[in-house]
Protein backbone atom coordinates (compact mmCIF):
# COMPACT_ATOMS: atom_id res chain seq x y z
CA UNK A 1 0.00 0.00 0.00
CA UNK A 2 2.78 2.44 0.92
CA UNK A 3 4.41 1.79 -2.42
CA UNK A 4 1.16 2.61 -4.23
CA UNK A 5 0.72 5.76 -2.13
CA UNK A 6 4.20 6.95 -3.08
CA UNK A 7 3.61 6.09 -6.74
CA UNK A 8 0.36 8.10 -6.77
CA UNK A 9 2.03 11.06 -5.09
CA UNK A 10 4.69 11.13 -7.79
CA UNK A 11 2.02 10.94 -10.49
CA UNK A 12 0.06 13.80 -8.91
CA UNK A 13 3.17 15.99 -8.76
CA UNK A 14 3.90 15.27 -12.40
CA UNK A 15 0.35 15.55 -13.78
CA UNK A 16 -0.55 18.71 -11.87
CA UNK A 17 2.82 20.42 -12.33
CA UNK A 18 3.40 20.82 -8.61
CA UNK A 19 6.84 22.28 -9.20
CA UNK A 20 9.44 21.69 -6.49
CA UNK A 21 7.23 19.38 -4.43
CA UNK A 22 8.39 16.01 -3.13
CA UNK A 23 6.17 13.04 -2.21
CA UNK A 24 7.16 13.56 1.43
CA UNK A 25 5.63 17.02 1.38
CA UNK A 26 2.19 15.66 0.44
CA UNK A 27 0.46 14.40 3.56
CA UNK A 28 -1.20 11.06 2.92
CA UNK A 29 -4.33 11.90 4.94
CA UNK A 30 -4.62 15.62 4.25
CA UNK A 31 -7.43 16.84 1.98
CA UNK A 32 -6.33 17.20 -1.64
CA UNK A 33 -8.69 20.05 -2.42
CA UNK A 34 -9.56 23.25 -0.64
CA UNK A 35 -6.96 23.50 2.10
CA UNK A 36 -4.25 20.87 1.95
CA UNK A 37 -2.74 20.94 -1.52
CA UNK A 38 -5.19 23.60 -2.67
CA UNK A 39 -6.04 21.92 -5.95
CA UNK A 40 -8.81 23.35 -8.16
CA UNK A 41 -11.56 22.14 -10.49
CA UNK A 42 -9.22 21.63 -13.46
CA UNK A 43 -6.93 19.54 -11.23
CA UNK A 44 -9.88 17.25 -10.39
CA UNK A 45 -10.51 16.71 -14.09
CA UNK A 46 -6.82 16.05 -14.70
CA UNK A 47 -6.82 13.46 -11.89
CA UNK A 48 -9.80 11.77 -13.55
CA UNK A 49 -7.70 11.46 -16.74
CA UNK A 50 -4.76 10.17 -14.68
CA UNK A 51 -6.89 7.40 -13.17
CA UNK A 52 -8.06 6.27 -16.58
CA UNK A 53 -4.65 6.49 -18.22
CA UNK A 54 -2.60 4.79 -15.52
CA UNK A 55 -5.07 2.44 -13.86
CA UNK A 56 -7.91 1.96 -16.36
CA UNK A 57 -10.46 3.43 -13.97
CA UNK A 58 -13.26 5.46 -15.53
CA UNK A 59 -14.96 8.07 -13.33
CA UNK A 60 -17.83 9.76 -15.13
CA UNK A 61 -18.28 12.94 -13.12
CA UNK A 62 -16.28 15.17 -10.78
CA UNK A 63 -19.04 14.59 -8.18
CA UNK A 64 -18.30 10.86 -8.21
CA UNK A 65 -14.67 11.73 -7.58
CA UNK A 66 -15.36 13.70 -4.42
CA UNK A 67 -15.00 10.72 -2.06
CA UNK A 68 -12.22 9.16 -4.10
CA UNK A 69 -10.13 12.34 -4.09
CA UNK A 70 -10.63 13.12 -0.39
CA UNK A 71 -6.96 12.34 0.32
CA UNK A 72 -4.08 10.42 -1.21
CA UNK A 73 -4.97 7.48 1.04
CA UNK A 74 -8.62 7.28 -0.12
CA UNK A 75 -7.37 7.58 -3.70
CA UNK A 76 -4.85 4.77 -3.24
CA UNK A 77 -7.48 2.54 -1.65
CA UNK A 78 -9.85 3.18 -4.54
CA UNK A 79 -7.13 2.42 -7.08
CA UNK A 80 -6.21 -0.81 -5.30
CA UNK A 81 -9.78 -2.06 -5.44
CA UNK A 82 -10.78 -0.89 -8.89
CA UNK A 83 -7.70 -0.90 -11.07
CA UNK A 84 -7.86 -2.81 -14.34
CA UNK A 85 -4.22 -2.21 -15.26
Amino acid sequence: MNELINEIKLQIIDALNLEGMTPEEIETDAPLFGEGLGLDSIDVLELIVLLEKNYGIKLTSPQEGKKVFASVRTLAEYVKENRTK
Binding site: A15, N17, I42, E46, V49
Partner: protein, 183 residues
Protein backbone atom coordinates in the same frame (compact mmCIF):
# COMPACT_ATOMS: atom_id res chain seq x y z
CA UNK B 1 -0.95 58.01 -25.04
CA UNK B 2 2.15 57.94 -22.92
CA UNK B 3 4.50 54.97 -22.62
CA UNK B 4 5.41 54.41 -18.97
CA UNK B 5 7.69 51.42 -19.37
CA UNK B 6 8.54 48.42 -21.50
CA UNK B 7 10.02 45.00 -20.88
CA UNK B 8 11.23 42.46 -23.42
CA UNK B 9 12.08 38.77 -23.30
CA UNK B 10 13.88 36.79 -26.02
CA UNK B 11 15.82 33.51 -25.58
CA UNK B 12 18.62 34.29 -23.15
CA UNK B 13 17.81 37.98 -22.69
CA UNK B 14 15.42 39.92 -20.46
CA UNK B 15 15.35 43.71 -20.38
CA UNK B 16 13.35 46.40 -18.63
CA UNK B 17 13.39 49.79 -20.32
CA UNK B 18 16.37 48.57 -22.36
CA UNK B 19 18.36 47.69 -19.24
CA UNK B 20 19.35 44.04 -19.01
CA UNK B 21 17.88 42.13 -16.08
CA UNK B 22 20.35 39.74 -14.52
CA UNK B 23 19.10 36.17 -14.74
CA UNK B 24 20.98 33.51 -12.78
CA UNK B 25 20.81 30.20 -14.68
CA UNK B 26 19.08 27.52 -12.58
CA UNK B 27 19.70 24.72 -15.06
CA UNK B 28 16.02 24.46 -16.06
CA UNK B 29 15.98 26.71 -19.09
CA UNK B 30 15.89 30.48 -19.49
CA UNK B 31 12.22 31.10 -18.68
CA UNK B 32 12.43 28.98 -15.54
CA UNK B 33 15.61 30.82 -14.53
CA UNK B 34 13.87 34.14 -15.09
CA UNK B 35 10.98 32.99 -12.90
CA UNK B 36 13.47 31.95 -10.20
CA UNK B 37 15.24 35.34 -10.42
CA UNK B 38 11.97 37.28 -10.16
CA UNK B 39 10.84 35.19 -7.14
CA UNK B 40 7.11 35.79 -7.60
CA UNK B 41 6.33 32.73 -5.43
CA UNK B 42 3.37 31.88 -7.66
CA UNK B 43 3.00 28.08 -8.06
CA UNK B 44 0.21 28.59 -10.63
CA UNK B 45 2.97 29.64 -13.05
CA UNK B 46 3.96 26.01 -13.51
CA UNK B 47 0.48 25.07 -14.67
CA UNK B 48 0.48 27.67 -17.47
CA UNK B 49 1.22 26.96 -21.11
CA UNK B 50 4.30 28.62 -22.62
CA UNK B 51 2.29 31.46 -24.15
CA UNK B 52 0.93 32.40 -20.73
CA UNK B 53 4.28 31.85 -19.00
CA UNK B 54 5.93 34.24 -21.41
CA UNK B 55 3.24 36.91 -21.04
CA UNK B 56 3.20 36.46 -17.29
CA UNK B 57 6.99 36.83 -17.00
CA UNK B 58 7.06 39.91 -19.24
CA UNK B 59 4.48 41.67 -17.07
CA UNK B 60 6.19 40.53 -13.85
CA UNK B 61 9.44 41.96 -15.17
CA UNK B 62 7.77 45.28 -15.91
CA UNK B 63 5.74 45.61 -12.71
CA UNK B 64 8.30 44.18 -10.26
CA UNK B 65 8.51 46.36 -7.18
CA UNK B 66 5.70 48.75 -8.20
CA UNK B 67 4.09 50.31 -5.16
CA UNK B 68 0.52 49.29 -4.32
CA UNK B 69 0.71 46.73 -7.10
CA UNK B 70 -1.84 44.22 -5.84
CA UNK B 71 -4.62 46.64 -4.94
CA UNK B 72 -7.73 45.61 -6.91
CA UNK B 73 -8.46 48.10 -9.70
CA UNK B 74 -10.85 48.52 -12.60
CA UNK B 75 -9.13 51.40 -14.40
CA UNK B 76 -6.32 49.37 -15.95
CA UNK B 77 -7.06 47.36 -19.09
CA UNK B 78 -5.06 44.27 -20.01
CA UNK B 79 -4.55 43.97 -23.74
CA UNK B 80 -2.82 41.01 -25.38
CA UNK B 81 -1.53 40.89 -28.94
CA UNK B 82 -0.18 37.77 -30.62
CA UNK B 83 0.27 35.92 -33.90
CA UNK B 84 0.83 32.27 -32.97
CA UNK B 85 -1.17 32.53 -29.75
CA UNK B 86 -1.17 29.24 -27.89
CA UNK B 87 -0.26 27.17 -30.98
CA UNK B 88 2.39 25.12 -29.13
CA UNK B 89 -0.15 24.18 -26.50
CA UNK B 90 -2.78 23.45 -29.19
CA UNK B 91 -0.37 20.96 -30.79
CA UNK B 92 0.33 19.34 -27.44
CA UNK B 93 -3.38 19.06 -26.60
CA UNK B 94 -4.09 17.74 -30.10
CA UNK B 95 -1.48 15.01 -29.66
CA UNK B 96 -3.59 13.69 -26.76
CA UNK B 97 -6.66 13.47 -29.04
CA UNK B 98 -5.25 10.79 -31.32
CA UNK B 99 -7.16 7.53 -31.47
CA UNK B 100 -4.19 5.30 -30.61
CA UNK B 101 -3.67 7.05 -27.26
CA UNK B 102 -6.84 9.03 -26.63
CA UNK B 103 -6.38 10.97 -23.39
CA UNK B 104 -7.27 14.64 -24.00
CA UNK B 105 -5.96 16.73 -21.12
CA UNK B 106 -8.35 19.23 -19.48
CA UNK B 107 -5.37 21.15 -18.07
CA UNK B 108 -4.02 21.65 -21.60
CA UNK B 109 -7.44 22.36 -23.14
CA UNK B 110 -8.12 25.37 -20.90
CA UNK B 111 -4.97 26.96 -22.31
CA UNK B 112 -6.02 26.51 -25.95
CA UNK B 113 -7.46 30.04 -26.03
CA UNK B 114 -5.12 32.94 -26.80
CA UNK B 115 -6.89 35.27 -24.33
CA UNK B 116 -6.15 33.12 -21.28
CA UNK B 117 -2.94 35.07 -20.78
CA UNK B 118 -5.01 38.19 -20.04
CA UNK B 119 -6.94 36.21 -17.44
CA UNK B 120 -3.71 35.05 -15.80
CA UNK B 121 -2.38 38.63 -15.69
CA UNK B 122 -5.69 39.94 -14.29
CA UNK B 123 -5.78 37.24 -11.61
CA UNK B 124 -2.17 37.86 -10.61
CA UNK B 125 -2.55 41.65 -10.41
CA UNK B 126 -6.22 41.80 -9.36
CA UNK B 127 -7.20 43.86 -12.36
CA UNK B 128 -10.96 43.87 -12.89
CA UNK B 129 -11.08 46.20 -15.86
CA UNK B 130 -11.31 45.77 -19.60
CA UNK B 131 -9.36 42.85 -21.05
CA UNK B 132 -8.97 41.88 -24.67
CA UNK B 133 -6.92 39.81 -27.07
CA UNK B 134 -6.11 40.75 -30.66
CA UNK B 135 -4.48 38.44 -33.18
CA UNK B 136 -2.29 40.08 -35.82
CA UNK B 137 0.22 38.72 -38.34
CA UNK B 138 3.05 40.73 -36.71
CA UNK B 139 3.56 43.41 -34.04
CA UNK B 140 2.42 46.14 -36.44
CA UNK B 141 2.85 49.43 -34.55
CA UNK B 142 0.07 51.20 -36.40
CA UNK B 143 -2.48 48.43 -35.82
CA UNK B 144 -1.53 48.12 -32.16
CA UNK B 145 -1.89 51.88 -31.76
CA UNK B 146 -5.30 51.73 -33.47
CA UNK B 147 -6.47 48.97 -31.11
CA UNK B 148 -5.20 50.87 -28.07
CA UNK B 149 -7.04 54.03 -29.14
CA UNK B 150 -10.18 51.91 -29.05
CA UNK B 151 -9.32 50.46 -25.65
CA UNK B 152 -9.11 53.98 -24.21
CA UNK B 153 -12.63 54.71 -25.44
CA UNK B 154 -13.89 53.04 -22.28
CA UNK B 155 -14.29 55.96 -19.86
CA UNK B 156 -13.20 53.80 -16.91
CA UNK B 157 -9.87 52.87 -18.49
CA UNK B 158 -6.97 55.21 -17.63
CA UNK B 159 -4.04 52.88 -18.31
CA UNK B 160 -3.38 49.67 -20.20
CA UNK B 161 -0.96 46.85 -19.52
CA UNK B 162 -0.21 45.45 -22.96
CA UNK B 163 1.68 42.44 -24.22
CA UNK B 164 2.93 41.17 -27.53
CA UNK B 165 3.64 37.49 -26.96
CA UNK B 166 4.72 35.05 -29.61
CA UNK B 167 6.09 31.64 -28.78
CA UNK B 168 7.30 29.42 -31.62
CA UNK B 169 9.88 27.17 -29.98
CA UNK B 170 12.43 27.06 -27.18
CA UNK B 171 14.89 28.86 -29.44
CA UNK B 172 12.43 31.24 -31.02
CA UNK B 173 10.14 33.40 -28.90
CA UNK B 174 9.56 37.01 -28.14
CA UNK B 175 7.54 38.90 -25.58
CA UNK B 176 7.03 42.56 -24.86
CA UNK B 177 5.04 44.07 -22.05
CA UNK B 178 4.38 47.76 -21.93
CA UNK B 179 2.37 50.09 -19.79
CA UNK B 180 0.49 52.93 -21.46
CA UNK B 181 -1.27 55.84 -19.85
CA UNK B 182 -4.05 57.75 -21.57
CA UNK B 183 -2.69 61.28 -21.58
Amino acid sequence: MKLLGISRITPGLATVNDIQREVVPDGKGFLHSLYTSLKPDYPKFFKMDLHCKLGFLATELLLEGTEGRFEPREDRAVVAFTHNGCLQNDLEFNAGCKAENYFPSPALFVYTLPNIVTGEICIRNRYKGDSSCFVLPNPDREKIQECLECVFQDPVTTSALCTWVDYKSEEDYEAYAFLIENK
